[in-house]
Amino acid sequence: MAKRSIVPFGPQHPVLPEPVHLDLILEDETVVGAVPSIGFIHRGLEKLVEKRDFKQYVYIAERVCGICSCGHGLGYCEAVEQVMGIEVPDRARYLRTIWVEMSRVHSHLLWLGLLADAMGFESLYMESWRLREKILDMFDETTGGRIIHSVNCVGGVQKDMDSTMLQHILQAIDDIRGEMKPVVETFMQDYTVQSRLKGSGILTKEDATALGAAGPVLRASGISYDARRLGYAAYGDLTMEPITAAEGDSYARCKVRLKELFQSFDLIREAIGKIPDGPISVPVKGNPSGEFFMRIEQPRGEAIYYVKGSGTKYLDRFRMRTPTTSNIPALVEMLKGCQLADVPLLILTIDPCVSCTER
Protein backbone atom coordinates (compact mmCIF):
# COMPACT_ATOMS: atom_id res chain seq x y z
CA MET A 1 0.00 0.00 0.00
CA ALA A 2 1.37 3.33 -1.08
CA LYS A 3 2.03 5.89 1.63
CA ARG A 4 -0.36 8.83 1.47
CA SER A 5 0.91 12.30 2.36
CA ILE A 6 0.03 15.93 1.80
CA VAL A 7 2.69 18.34 0.55
CA PRO A 8 2.03 22.08 0.69
CA PHE A 9 3.25 23.70 -2.53
CA GLY A 10 3.61 27.46 -2.82
CA PRO A 11 2.70 30.31 -2.57
CA GLN A 12 6.43 31.04 -2.29
CA HIS A 13 8.26 28.45 -4.32
CA PRO A 14 11.41 28.77 -6.46
CA VAL A 15 9.70 27.49 -9.61
CA LEU A 16 6.49 29.45 -9.28
CA PRO A 17 6.28 32.78 -11.06
CA GLU A 18 3.05 33.59 -9.23
CA PRO A 19 1.82 33.03 -5.66
CA VAL A 20 -0.70 30.20 -5.94
CA HIS A 21 -0.92 27.60 -3.21
CA LEU A 22 -1.68 23.91 -3.72
CA ASP A 23 -2.07 21.18 -1.14
CA LEU A 24 -0.83 18.17 -3.09
CA ILE A 25 -2.21 14.81 -2.00
CA LEU A 26 0.45 12.25 -2.83
CA GLU A 27 0.62 8.51 -2.90
CA ASP A 28 4.36 7.95 -2.81
CA GLU A 29 5.52 10.28 -5.62
CA THR A 30 2.23 10.29 -7.54
CA VAL A 31 -0.23 13.14 -7.18
CA VAL A 32 -3.76 11.85 -6.58
CA GLY A 33 -5.40 15.15 -5.79
CA ALA A 34 -4.72 18.85 -5.32
CA VAL A 35 -6.55 21.52 -3.34
CA PRO A 36 -5.80 25.02 -4.67
CA SER A 37 -6.09 28.19 -2.67
CA ILE A 38 -5.59 31.78 -3.73
CA GLY A 39 -5.84 35.11 -1.94
CA PHE A 40 -2.22 36.03 -1.29
CA ILE A 41 -2.06 39.16 -3.43
CA HIS A 42 -5.60 40.52 -3.38
CA ARG A 43 -5.46 44.30 -3.77
CA GLY A 44 -9.11 45.31 -3.99
CA LEU A 45 -8.77 46.96 -7.39
CA GLU A 46 -12.39 46.24 -8.36
CA LYS A 47 -13.65 48.14 -5.33
CA LEU A 48 -11.53 51.13 -6.34
CA VAL A 49 -13.91 51.73 -9.24
CA GLU A 50 -16.23 53.44 -6.77
CA LYS A 51 -13.53 55.97 -5.85
CA ARG A 52 -12.03 56.88 -9.22
CA ASP A 53 -14.01 58.30 -12.11
CA PHE A 54 -14.63 56.04 -15.07
CA LYS A 55 -12.05 57.71 -17.31
CA GLN A 56 -9.36 57.47 -14.64
CA TYR A 57 -10.12 53.84 -13.94
CA VAL A 58 -8.58 52.79 -17.30
CA TYR A 59 -5.17 53.37 -15.71
CA ILE A 60 -6.11 51.13 -12.79
CA ALA A 61 -7.66 48.40 -14.96
CA GLU A 62 -4.45 48.10 -16.94
CA ARG A 63 -2.39 47.88 -13.79
CA VAL A 64 -4.22 44.74 -12.64
CA CYS A 65 -1.51 42.69 -14.31
CA GLY A 66 1.77 43.50 -16.01
CA ILE A 67 1.50 41.05 -18.88
CA CYS A 68 -2.16 41.39 -19.93
CA SER A 69 -2.15 45.14 -19.24
CA CYS A 70 -3.05 46.24 -22.77
CA GLY A 71 -5.96 43.78 -22.95
CA HIS A 72 -7.36 44.80 -19.58
CA GLY A 73 -7.40 48.45 -20.66
CA LEU A 74 -9.07 47.47 -23.93
CA GLY A 75 -11.68 45.24 -22.28
CA TYR A 76 -12.64 47.91 -19.77
CA CYS A 77 -12.78 50.70 -22.38
CA GLU A 78 -14.86 48.64 -24.81
CA ALA A 79 -17.31 47.76 -22.03
CA VAL A 80 -17.73 51.42 -21.03
CA GLU A 81 -18.03 52.44 -24.68
CA GLN A 82 -20.80 49.90 -25.19
CA VAL A 83 -22.66 51.26 -22.16
CA MET A 84 -22.35 54.82 -23.41
CA GLY A 85 -23.02 53.95 -27.05
CA ILE A 86 -19.73 55.40 -28.28
CA GLU A 87 -18.58 54.51 -31.77
CA VAL A 88 -14.79 54.27 -31.78
CA PRO A 89 -13.03 55.56 -34.93
CA ASP A 90 -11.72 52.85 -37.29
CA ARG A 91 -8.09 53.83 -36.92
CA ALA A 92 -8.36 53.50 -33.14
CA ARG A 93 -9.85 50.01 -33.52
CA TYR A 94 -6.92 48.93 -35.68
CA LEU A 95 -4.35 50.52 -33.38
CA ARG A 96 -5.90 48.70 -30.42
CA THR A 97 -5.74 45.42 -32.34
CA ILE A 98 -2.08 45.90 -33.24
CA TRP A 99 -1.13 46.66 -29.65
CA VAL A 100 -3.15 43.78 -28.23
CA GLU A 101 -1.63 41.33 -30.71
CA MET A 102 1.83 42.63 -29.87
CA SER A 103 1.04 42.00 -26.24
CA ARG A 104 0.00 38.44 -27.14
CA VAL A 105 3.40 37.95 -28.79
CA HIS A 106 5.23 39.21 -25.74
CA SER A 107 3.07 37.17 -23.36
CA HIS A 108 3.60 33.94 -25.30
CA LEU A 109 7.35 34.54 -25.61
CA LEU A 110 7.46 35.18 -21.87
CA TRP A 111 5.58 31.94 -21.26
CA LEU A 112 7.90 29.96 -23.55
CA GLY A 113 10.84 31.31 -21.58
CA LEU A 114 9.27 30.38 -18.26
CA LEU A 115 8.45 26.90 -19.54
CA ALA A 116 12.05 26.39 -20.63
CA ASP A 117 13.22 27.72 -17.27
CA ALA A 118 10.94 25.28 -15.42
CA MET A 119 12.54 22.44 -17.38
CA GLY A 120 15.99 23.75 -16.50
CA PHE A 121 16.74 24.66 -20.12
CA GLU A 122 18.42 27.97 -19.33
CA SER A 123 19.72 28.89 -22.77
CA LEU A 124 16.31 28.34 -24.39
CA TYR A 125 14.75 30.48 -21.69
CA MET A 126 17.18 33.32 -22.33
CA GLU A 127 16.70 33.07 -26.09
CA SER A 128 12.91 33.39 -25.75
CA TRP A 129 13.27 36.42 -23.54
CA ARG A 130 15.87 37.96 -25.84
CA LEU A 131 13.33 37.81 -28.66
CA ARG A 132 10.66 39.24 -26.38
CA GLU A 133 12.83 42.32 -25.85
CA LYS A 134 12.31 43.29 -29.50
CA ILE A 135 8.55 43.52 -28.93
CA LEU A 136 9.03 45.40 -25.66
CA ASP A 137 11.25 47.90 -27.50
CA MET A 138 8.44 48.39 -30.00
CA PHE A 139 6.01 49.04 -27.16
CA ASP A 140 8.47 51.53 -25.72
CA GLU A 141 8.74 53.34 -29.05
CA THR A 142 5.02 53.42 -29.85
CA THR A 143 3.40 53.85 -26.43
CA GLY A 144 6.13 55.19 -24.17
CA GLY A 145 6.05 52.24 -21.78
CA ARG A 146 7.47 48.74 -22.03
CA ILE A 147 4.91 46.95 -19.88
CA ILE A 148 2.16 49.40 -18.94
CA HIS A 149 1.18 51.14 -22.14
CA SER A 150 -1.54 53.60 -21.06
CA VAL A 151 -2.74 54.05 -24.64
CA ASN A 152 -6.36 52.97 -24.37
CA CYS A 153 -8.88 55.54 -23.29
CA VAL A 154 -12.65 55.65 -23.32
CA GLY A 155 -13.50 56.79 -26.84
CA GLY A 156 -10.39 55.55 -28.65
CA VAL A 157 -6.66 55.61 -28.10
CA GLN A 158 -4.36 58.32 -26.79
CA LYS A 159 -1.48 57.93 -29.21
CA ASP A 160 -1.22 57.41 -32.92
CA MET A 161 1.44 55.46 -34.79
CA ASP A 162 3.10 57.03 -37.82
CA SER A 163 4.24 55.01 -40.82
CA THR A 164 7.82 54.77 -39.51
CA MET A 165 6.59 53.14 -36.33
CA LEU A 166 4.41 50.71 -38.27
CA GLN A 167 7.41 49.82 -40.44
CA HIS A 168 9.53 49.26 -37.32
CA ILE A 169 6.87 46.88 -35.97
CA LEU A 170 6.84 44.94 -39.25
CA GLN A 171 10.64 44.79 -39.16
CA ALA A 172 10.61 43.57 -35.55
CA ILE A 173 8.10 40.79 -36.22
CA ASP A 174 10.07 39.73 -39.31
CA ASP A 175 13.24 39.57 -37.21
CA ILE A 176 11.50 37.54 -34.50
CA ARG A 177 9.93 35.22 -37.07
CA GLY A 178 13.37 34.54 -38.57
CA GLU A 179 15.06 34.01 -35.23
CA MET A 180 12.24 31.84 -33.89
CA LYS A 181 13.28 28.87 -36.08
CA PRO A 182 15.72 27.22 -33.64
CA VAL A 183 13.36 27.99 -30.73
CA VAL A 184 10.40 26.34 -32.47
CA GLU A 185 12.54 23.36 -33.47
CA THR A 186 13.71 22.91 -29.92
CA PHE A 187 10.26 23.14 -28.33
CA MET A 188 8.68 20.87 -30.92
CA GLN A 189 11.40 18.35 -31.75
CA ASP A 190 14.05 18.22 -29.06
CA TYR A 191 14.22 14.86 -27.33
CA THR A 192 14.69 16.36 -23.84
CA VAL A 193 11.82 18.82 -24.21
CA GLN A 194 9.50 16.19 -25.65
CA SER A 195 10.27 13.82 -22.79
CA ARG A 196 9.08 16.46 -20.32
CA LEU A 197 6.01 17.60 -22.26
CA LYS A 198 4.56 14.70 -24.22
CA GLY A 199 1.82 12.77 -22.51
CA SER A 200 1.97 14.79 -19.28
CA GLY A 201 -1.04 16.58 -17.78
CA ILE A 202 -3.63 15.33 -20.25
CA LEU A 203 -6.89 17.26 -20.21
CA THR A 204 -9.59 15.55 -22.23
CA LYS A 205 -12.01 17.43 -24.43
CA GLU A 206 -14.91 16.52 -22.11
CA ASP A 207 -13.05 17.69 -18.98
CA ALA A 208 -11.98 20.92 -20.66
CA THR A 209 -15.62 21.73 -21.48
CA ALA A 210 -17.03 20.58 -18.16
CA LEU A 211 -14.43 22.47 -16.09
CA GLY A 212 -14.71 25.63 -18.17
CA ALA A 213 -11.09 25.85 -19.31
CA ALA A 214 -10.18 28.91 -21.38
CA GLY A 215 -7.73 30.02 -24.03
CA PRO A 216 -4.84 27.87 -25.25
CA VAL A 217 -5.63 25.24 -22.56
CA LEU A 218 -9.10 24.79 -24.05
CA ARG A 219 -7.89 24.86 -27.64
CA ALA A 220 -5.12 22.34 -26.91
CA SER A 221 -7.85 19.91 -25.87
CA GLY A 222 -9.40 20.10 -29.33
CA ILE A 223 -12.10 22.74 -28.84
CA SER A 224 -12.16 25.43 -31.47
CA TYR A 225 -13.12 28.53 -29.48
CA ASP A 226 -11.49 31.93 -29.62
CA ALA A 227 -13.21 35.07 -28.33
CA ARG A 228 -11.44 37.15 -30.98
CA ARG A 229 -13.99 35.81 -33.44
CA LEU A 230 -16.62 37.90 -31.68
CA GLY A 231 -15.19 40.74 -33.73
CA TYR A 232 -14.35 43.33 -31.06
CA ALA A 233 -11.70 45.99 -31.89
CA ALA A 234 -10.78 45.31 -35.55
CA TYR A 235 -10.93 41.51 -35.40
CA GLY A 236 -14.15 41.54 -37.38
CA ASP A 237 -12.20 42.81 -40.41
CA LEU A 238 -9.30 40.39 -40.06
CA THR A 239 -9.11 36.74 -40.99
CA MET A 240 -8.34 34.27 -38.26
CA GLU A 241 -9.15 30.69 -37.36
CA PRO A 242 -8.73 29.36 -33.82
CA ILE A 243 -5.65 27.17 -33.51
CA THR A 244 -6.33 23.81 -31.95
CA ALA A 245 -4.55 20.60 -31.07
CA ALA A 246 -6.15 17.28 -30.25
CA GLU A 247 -3.85 15.69 -27.66
CA GLY A 248 -4.62 17.88 -24.63
CA ASP A 249 -1.18 17.34 -23.05
CA SER A 250 1.54 19.85 -22.15
CA TYR A 251 3.11 19.39 -25.58
CA ALA A 252 -0.18 20.34 -27.27
CA ARG A 253 -0.50 23.46 -25.11
CA CYS A 254 3.04 24.46 -26.09
CA LYS A 255 2.28 23.78 -29.76
CA VAL A 256 -0.91 25.88 -29.68
CA ARG A 257 0.93 28.84 -28.15
CA LEU A 258 3.78 28.59 -30.64
CA LYS A 259 1.33 28.56 -33.54
CA GLU A 260 -0.58 31.47 -32.01
CA LEU A 261 2.65 33.47 -32.03
CA PHE A 262 2.84 33.09 -35.80
CA GLN A 263 -0.89 33.78 -36.10
CA SER A 264 -0.33 37.04 -34.21
CA PHE A 265 2.49 38.00 -36.60
CA ASP A 266 0.06 37.48 -39.50
CA LEU A 267 -2.70 39.45 -37.76
CA ILE A 268 -0.36 42.37 -37.04
CA ARG A 269 0.80 42.36 -40.66
CA GLU A 270 -2.78 42.26 -41.94
CA ALA A 271 -3.92 45.02 -39.56
CA ILE A 272 -0.99 47.26 -40.56
CA GLY A 273 -1.85 46.66 -44.21
CA LYS A 274 -5.49 47.58 -43.71
CA ILE A 275 -5.21 50.40 -41.17
CA PRO A 276 -7.26 53.41 -42.35
CA ASP A 277 -6.41 57.08 -41.82
CA GLY A 278 -8.55 59.26 -39.64
CA PRO A 279 -9.09 60.39 -36.07
CA ILE A 280 -7.95 58.19 -33.18
CA SER A 281 -10.54 59.14 -30.59
CA VAL A 282 -13.93 60.74 -30.16
CA PRO A 283 -14.83 63.18 -27.37
CA VAL A 284 -16.72 61.57 -24.50
CA LYS A 285 -19.56 63.56 -22.98
CA GLY A 286 -21.75 62.50 -20.11
CA ASN A 287 -21.51 59.55 -17.76
CA PRO A 288 -22.19 55.85 -18.28
CA SER A 289 -25.59 54.57 -17.30
CA GLY A 290 -26.40 50.90 -17.76
CA GLU A 291 -24.47 47.67 -17.71
CA PHE A 292 -22.50 45.54 -20.13
CA PHE A 293 -20.55 42.27 -20.28
CA MET A 294 -17.51 42.47 -22.54
CA ARG A 295 -15.61 39.35 -23.60
CA ILE A 296 -12.15 39.53 -25.09
CA GLU A 297 -9.42 36.99 -25.79
CA GLN A 298 -6.40 37.69 -23.64
CA PRO A 299 -3.14 35.82 -24.35
CA ARG A 300 -4.06 33.42 -21.55
CA GLY A 301 -7.67 32.93 -22.60
CA GLU A 302 -11.07 34.51 -22.51
CA ALA A 303 -11.50 37.37 -20.04
CA ILE A 304 -14.83 38.91 -19.06
CA TYR A 305 -15.35 42.52 -18.02
CA TYR A 306 -18.59 43.67 -16.46
CA VAL A 307 -19.36 47.33 -15.85
CA LYS A 308 -22.41 48.90 -14.32
CA GLY A 309 -22.98 52.62 -14.14
CA SER A 310 -25.83 54.73 -12.86
CA GLY A 311 -25.26 58.03 -14.59
CA THR A 312 -22.60 59.41 -12.25
CA LYS A 313 -18.92 59.65 -13.06
CA TYR A 314 -18.21 56.80 -10.65
CA LEU A 315 -19.21 53.32 -11.80
CA ASP A 316 -21.28 51.21 -9.43
CA ARG A 317 -19.52 47.96 -10.18
CA PHE A 318 -16.65 46.63 -12.19
CA ARG A 319 -15.98 42.94 -12.29
CA MET A 320 -13.45 40.99 -14.25
CA ARG A 321 -13.10 37.26 -14.65
CA THR A 322 -9.70 36.33 -15.90
CA PRO A 323 -8.61 33.17 -17.75
CA THR A 324 -6.51 31.82 -14.90
CA THR A 325 -9.61 31.71 -12.68
CA SER A 326 -11.28 29.41 -15.17
CA ASN A 327 -8.15 27.34 -15.74
CA ILE A 328 -7.47 26.45 -12.09
CA PRO A 329 -10.15 23.68 -11.96
CA ALA A 330 -8.68 22.28 -15.19
CA LEU A 331 -5.22 22.40 -13.59
CA VAL A 332 -6.44 20.36 -10.60
CA GLU A 333 -7.73 17.73 -13.03
CA MET A 334 -4.47 17.72 -14.99
CA LEU A 335 -2.42 17.19 -11.86
CA LYS A 336 -4.16 13.94 -10.96
CA GLY A 337 -1.88 11.04 -11.77
CA CYS A 338 1.25 13.07 -12.50
CA GLN A 339 4.57 12.78 -10.69
CA LEU A 340 5.51 15.33 -8.02
CA ALA A 341 8.46 16.49 -10.16
CA ASP A 342 6.08 17.42 -12.99
CA VAL A 343 3.85 19.66 -10.83
CA PRO A 344 5.77 22.94 -11.46
CA LEU A 345 5.75 22.34 -15.19
CA LEU A 346 2.04 21.53 -15.26
CA ILE A 347 1.17 24.64 -13.28
CA LEU A 348 3.11 26.62 -15.86
CA THR A 349 1.32 25.08 -18.81
CA ILE A 350 -1.91 26.86 -17.90
CA ASP A 351 0.13 30.12 -17.94
CA PRO A 352 -1.07 31.17 -14.49
CA CYS A 353 -1.52 34.83 -13.68
CA VAL A 354 -2.51 35.12 -10.06
CA SER A 355 -2.31 38.94 -10.11
CA CYS A 356 -5.21 38.91 -12.57
CA THR A 357 -7.08 36.20 -10.71
CA GLU A 358 -7.10 38.06 -7.41
CA ARG A 359 -7.11 41.66 -8.65
Binding site: Q56, P182, M188, D190, Q194, K255
Partner: protein, 189 residues
Protein backbone atom coordinates in the same frame (compact mmCIF):
# COMPACT_ATOMS: atom_id res chain seq x y z
CA UNK B 1 5.78 24.48 -38.45
CA UNK B 2 7.74 21.31 -37.81
CA UNK B 3 6.16 18.84 -35.50
CA UNK B 4 6.61 15.68 -33.54
CA UNK B 5 9.82 14.37 -35.19
CA UNK B 6 12.37 13.78 -32.45
CA UNK B 7 15.88 15.17 -32.74
CA UNK B 8 18.72 15.81 -30.34
CA UNK B 9 20.93 18.85 -29.76
CA UNK B 10 18.50 21.08 -31.65
CA UNK B 11 19.66 24.14 -29.76
CA UNK B 12 23.41 23.43 -29.91
CA UNK B 13 23.94 25.72 -32.92
CA UNK B 14 22.40 28.68 -31.16
CA UNK B 15 24.33 27.97 -27.96
CA UNK B 16 27.64 27.87 -29.86
CA UNK B 17 26.73 31.11 -31.64
CA UNK B 18 26.07 32.76 -28.28
CA UNK B 19 29.61 31.95 -27.16
CA UNK B 20 31.10 34.14 -29.87
CA UNK B 21 28.49 36.91 -30.00
CA UNK B 22 28.36 40.20 -28.17
CA UNK B 23 26.04 40.15 -25.15
CA UNK B 24 22.40 40.96 -25.97
CA UNK B 25 22.18 43.16 -22.88
CA UNK B 26 23.49 46.69 -22.40
CA UNK B 27 25.96 47.29 -19.59
CA UNK B 28 23.79 49.88 -17.87
CA UNK B 29 24.67 52.24 -16.10
CA UNK B 30 28.20 52.21 -17.55
CA UNK B 31 26.69 52.42 -21.01
CA UNK B 32 23.83 54.97 -21.00
CA UNK B 33 20.39 53.71 -22.01
CA UNK B 34 18.81 55.14 -25.15
CA UNK B 35 15.25 56.19 -24.59
CA UNK B 36 12.67 56.51 -27.36
CA UNK B 37 10.97 59.84 -28.01
CA UNK B 38 7.63 58.93 -26.40
CA UNK B 39 9.06 57.42 -23.23
CA UNK B 40 6.99 58.10 -20.12
CA UNK B 41 9.79 58.48 -17.58
CA UNK B 42 8.73 61.23 -15.20
CA UNK B 43 6.45 64.27 -15.06
CA UNK B 44 7.94 67.72 -15.54
CA UNK B 45 6.18 71.05 -14.97
CA UNK B 46 6.68 74.49 -16.45
CA UNK B 47 5.67 76.12 -13.20
CA UNK B 48 5.53 79.66 -14.60
CA UNK B 49 2.63 78.61 -16.87
CA UNK B 50 0.76 76.72 -14.14
CA UNK B 51 -2.47 78.30 -12.95
CA UNK B 52 -2.90 75.93 -9.98
CA UNK B 53 -6.33 74.88 -11.28
CA UNK B 54 -6.04 71.44 -9.67
CA UNK B 55 -7.26 69.43 -12.66
CA UNK B 56 -4.08 67.32 -12.53
CA UNK B 57 -4.80 66.55 -8.86
CA UNK B 58 -8.28 65.32 -9.74
CA UNK B 59 -7.14 63.27 -12.71
CA UNK B 60 -4.26 61.50 -10.95
CA UNK B 61 -5.31 57.89 -10.25
CA UNK B 62 -2.57 57.39 -7.66
CA UNK B 63 -3.13 60.71 -5.86
CA UNK B 64 0.51 61.67 -6.26
CA UNK B 65 -0.07 65.37 -6.96
CA UNK B 66 -1.14 68.15 -4.63
CA UNK B 67 -1.65 71.82 -5.37
CA UNK B 68 -1.81 74.74 -2.97
CA UNK B 69 -3.51 77.64 -4.72
CA UNK B 70 -2.78 80.22 -2.05
CA UNK B 71 0.92 79.42 -1.75
CA UNK B 72 1.18 78.82 -5.50
CA UNK B 73 2.88 75.46 -5.11
CA UNK B 74 2.64 72.24 -7.11
CA UNK B 75 3.91 69.08 -5.40
CA UNK B 76 4.43 65.61 -6.82
CA UNK B 77 5.26 62.48 -4.82
CA UNK B 78 7.86 60.94 -7.11
CA UNK B 79 7.42 57.51 -5.54
CA UNK B 80 3.61 57.61 -5.74
CA UNK B 81 3.53 58.64 -9.41
CA UNK B 82 2.82 55.71 -11.74
CA UNK B 83 3.83 57.56 -14.94
CA UNK B 84 0.42 57.08 -16.59
CA UNK B 85 0.36 60.53 -18.17
CA UNK B 86 -3.20 61.27 -17.02
CA UNK B 87 -2.22 64.68 -15.58
CA UNK B 88 -0.49 65.67 -18.83
CA UNK B 89 -3.72 65.03 -20.73
CA UNK B 90 -5.82 66.86 -18.16
CA UNK B 91 -3.68 70.02 -17.93
CA UNK B 92 -5.57 72.85 -19.68
CA UNK B 93 -2.45 75.01 -19.93
CA UNK B 94 -0.24 72.20 -21.29
CA UNK B 95 2.42 73.03 -18.73
CA UNK B 96 2.85 69.37 -17.72
CA UNK B 97 4.92 67.02 -19.87
CA UNK B 98 6.18 63.45 -19.66
CA UNK B 99 9.94 63.44 -20.03
CA UNK B 100 12.46 60.72 -20.74
CA UNK B 101 14.47 59.08 -17.98
CA UNK B 102 13.32 57.57 -14.73
CA UNK B 103 13.53 59.30 -11.38
CA UNK B 104 16.39 58.15 -9.22
CA UNK B 105 15.96 55.61 -6.45
CA UNK B 106 16.19 56.78 -2.86
CA UNK B 107 16.14 55.41 0.66
CA UNK B 108 12.95 57.28 1.55
CA UNK B 109 9.85 58.34 -0.35
CA UNK B 110 10.47 61.83 -1.60
CA UNK B 111 8.32 64.49 -3.15
CA UNK B 112 9.23 67.54 -5.16
CA UNK B 113 7.62 70.96 -4.76
CA UNK B 114 7.60 73.69 -7.38
CA UNK B 115 6.63 77.25 -6.46
CA UNK B 116 5.12 79.70 -8.89
CA UNK B 117 7.26 82.83 -9.38
CA UNK B 118 5.55 85.99 -8.15
CA UNK B 119 4.08 87.97 -11.03
CA UNK B 120 4.08 91.76 -10.87
CA UNK B 121 1.49 92.43 -13.50
CA UNK B 122 -1.19 90.09 -14.71
CA UNK B 123 -1.58 89.98 -18.47
CA UNK B 124 -5.01 90.49 -19.92
CA UNK B 125 -7.36 87.53 -20.21
CA UNK B 126 -5.04 85.54 -17.99
CA UNK B 127 -6.35 83.05 -15.51
CA UNK B 128 -7.54 83.91 -12.02
CA UNK B 129 -11.10 84.75 -11.18
CA UNK B 130 -14.17 83.53 -12.97
CA UNK B 131 -15.26 84.38 -16.52
CA UNK B 132 -17.78 87.20 -16.80
CA UNK B 133 -19.84 87.65 -19.95
CA UNK B 134 -20.39 90.84 -21.85
CA UNK B 135 -23.79 89.89 -23.32
CA UNK B 136 -23.65 92.58 -25.98
CA UNK B 137 -20.56 91.15 -27.59
CA UNK B 138 -21.56 87.48 -27.25
CA UNK B 139 -22.76 85.68 -30.39
CA UNK B 140 -23.52 82.40 -28.53
CA UNK B 141 -21.16 80.43 -30.72
CA UNK B 142 -20.62 77.83 -27.89
CA UNK B 143 -16.84 77.79 -28.42
CA UNK B 144 -16.25 78.60 -24.75
CA UNK B 145 -18.45 75.68 -23.69
CA UNK B 146 -16.66 73.31 -26.05
CA UNK B 147 -13.19 74.37 -24.87
CA UNK B 148 -13.99 74.30 -21.14
CA UNK B 149 -12.06 71.35 -19.63
CA UNK B 150 -14.59 71.07 -16.82
CA UNK B 151 -17.81 71.41 -18.83
CA UNK B 152 -18.70 74.29 -16.53
CA UNK B 153 -20.28 76.51 -19.19
CA UNK B 154 -23.70 76.00 -20.75
CA UNK B 155 -24.74 77.94 -23.82
CA UNK B 156 -28.13 77.75 -25.48
CA UNK B 157 -28.06 79.19 -28.98
CA UNK B 158 -31.82 79.28 -29.44
CA UNK B 159 -32.66 80.83 -26.10
CA UNK B 160 -29.52 82.99 -26.19
CA UNK B 161 -28.47 82.11 -22.68
CA UNK B 162 -25.01 81.67 -21.20
CA UNK B 163 -24.57 80.09 -17.76
CA UNK B 164 -21.55 79.24 -15.65
CA UNK B 165 -21.40 76.55 -12.99
CA UNK B 166 -19.11 78.29 -10.50
CA UNK B 167 -18.50 75.11 -8.54
CA UNK B 168 -17.12 73.31 -11.58
CA UNK B 169 -15.08 76.29 -12.87
CA UNK B 170 -11.35 75.96 -12.21
CA UNK B 171 -10.63 79.51 -13.36
CA UNK B 172 -8.21 78.45 -16.07
CA UNK B 173 -9.16 81.24 -18.48
CA UNK B 174 -9.34 78.97 -21.52
CA UNK B 175 -12.88 80.19 -22.33
CA UNK B 176 -11.75 83.81 -22.31
CA UNK B 177 -8.85 83.12 -24.64
CA UNK B 178 -11.05 80.97 -26.93
CA UNK B 179 -13.79 83.60 -27.31
CA UNK B 180 -13.63 85.02 -30.87
CA UNK B 181 -15.57 88.14 -29.88
CA UNK B 182 -13.62 88.87 -26.68
CA UNK B 183 -16.90 88.79 -24.80
CA UNK B 184 -15.45 87.02 -21.77
CA UNK B 185 -13.15 88.54 -19.19
CA UNK B 186 -11.67 86.93 -16.10
CA UNK B 187 -12.61 88.83 -12.96
CA UNK B 188 -11.73 88.01 -9.38
CA UNK B 189 -14.66 87.30 -7.13
Amino acid sequence: MMEDKTRVFTFAGRVLKNLFQKPATVQYPFQPAEYPERMRGHVEIKIEDCICCGLCVRSCPSQAISVDRKAGTWTIGRFDCVQCGSCVLACPKKCLTMEKGYTEPDIAKKSETFTKPKEEEKPEAASGGIPVLDAEKCVYCTLCAKKCPQEAIRVDRKEKTWALDEEKCVQCGICASACPKHALSMQSI
